[in-house]
């Protein structure tokens, strides 16, 4: 249940419903106490609207611009996030993955009854890719790099979302 003060402020802010608006208008005509309260609220509202904000020091803008002069240009920020670099990283990550998938599919026996995960792994002859240990090391390095890049991208997106 809204108090009369809340209903009056809603009326002043223009956030009340049509019914509430008519009810307040009727009260203002019939009740001198509400009318006096309304006049007081209007006075506060008008004064708050015209209240001057505080002034920082005279050199404020100059101080900001002096600090900005030491910063790299905003435009340069855009070139740092060059799409070609992102595409290059993506290609670097996707190329070995594609090679691996193609290799896996060429190694598979496509006959019936062979489709389960353990069969799939046993069938793939990883040594053909240059030796088991070397291949596993490459896979681990690939996974670590992929996780690092995903982490960087998520952190960057989080920073943007905080402010936007």
């Amino acid at each position: 249940m809204k108090t009369i003060e809340e209903r009056l402020w809603d009326f002043i802010d223009g956030t009340c419903t049509t019914d509430e608006k008519y009810a307040i208008e009727r009260s203002l005509q019939s009740d001198p106490t509400i009318k006096a309260l309304y006049a007081e609220f209007i006075y506060i509202n008008q004064n708050l609207k015209v209240a001057e904000p505080d002034e920082p020091s005279m050199r404020f803008t100059q101080n900001v611009m002096d600090k900005i002069a030491l910063e790299p240009a905003t435009k340069a920020l855009q070139t740092q996030i060059d799409k070609r670099i992102i595409n290059g990283i993506a290609a670097l990550l996707l190329a070995p993955l594609s090679v691996l998938l193609i290799f896996m599919f060429t190694q598979l026996q496509w006959s019936e009854g062979k489709w389960n995960f353990s069969n799939l792994l046993s069938e793939i002859q990883l040594h053909k890719l240059g030796g088991g240990v070397l291949f596993e090391a490459a896979i681990v390095a690939f996974m670590v790099t992929a996780l690092f890049v995903i982490d960087q991208v998520l952190q960057y997106r989080k920073t943007l979302l905080t402010y936007e």
């Binding site: 209240a51 803008t61 101080n63 900001v64 900005i68 910063e71 943007l160």
Partner: protein, 194 residues
């Protein structure tokens, strides 16, 4: 506002390499940013440092501004989070804005007021004095709503509070402001009589 170029036009110019256009943006908003910061920290030096820091953050991330909200809403969001970070660093145990320090601040301000009671002030000045005596939370909502010209929904976006919570906070802030104003005016009348 002395310069008629829109915020978005100025932002485009800054991104295109015209650094001086950023000075126009700073001049346009510096008083509002400073006032919001002053609601949080009270010390002018701290508020000025925060305000400068905010504009530098804005400059650094201007190219990432996606124009989904008003520039001022985006700017005040940065100001709000910068002030909160500043307060956390200064008072690690007191993150809430409804903390005891505000009441101590209030007592100090009243003492200042009593010391200067002979000075005649207009009612507008009393209103500004009452604003300075308010809780950080209340002063921040009032400043954003009236001086920053942000809607309840925009303040909700800036602070992360629900729109209904902002509405309640705004009502409560105006109620407290009115109460403080009454105290100040009664005090003034009493001092004039004696």
């Amino acid at each position: 506002m002395p310069d008629q170029a829109t915020d978005l036009a100025l932002i485009e110019s800054v991104i295109a390499g015209d650094q001086q256009c950023f000075a126009l943006l700073v001049k346009r908003y510096q008083r509002y940013v400073f006032t919001v910061a002053l609601n949080f920290v009270k010390q002018r030096e701290d508020a000025e440092e925060i305000a400068q820091d905010c504009f530098i953050k804005v400059y650094r991330s201007l190219a990432t501004f996606q124009k989904q909200s008003k520039f001022s809403t985006w700017l005040y969001t940065i100001v709000y989070y910068t002030c909160m970070t500043f307060l956390r660093k200064k008072q690690p145990d007191k993150i809430s804005m409804d903390d005891e320090e505000n009441f101590l601040q209030l007592e100090n301000k009243e003492s200042d007021f009593k010391a200067n009671h002979a000075e005649k002030k207009s009612r507008t000045e009393y209103l500004q004095l009452a604003m300075k005596m308010m809780l950080k939370d209340d002063a921040m909502v009032l400043t954003l709503f009236y001086q920053g010209e942000q809607s309840i929904e925009e303040i909700s976006k800036i602070t992360g509070f629900e729109a209904n919570t902002v509405k309640v906070k705004l009502h409560r802030a105006r109620h407290r402001l009115r109460a403080k104003l009454e105290v100040i005016l009664k005090e003034e009348v009493r001092d004039l009589i004696h």
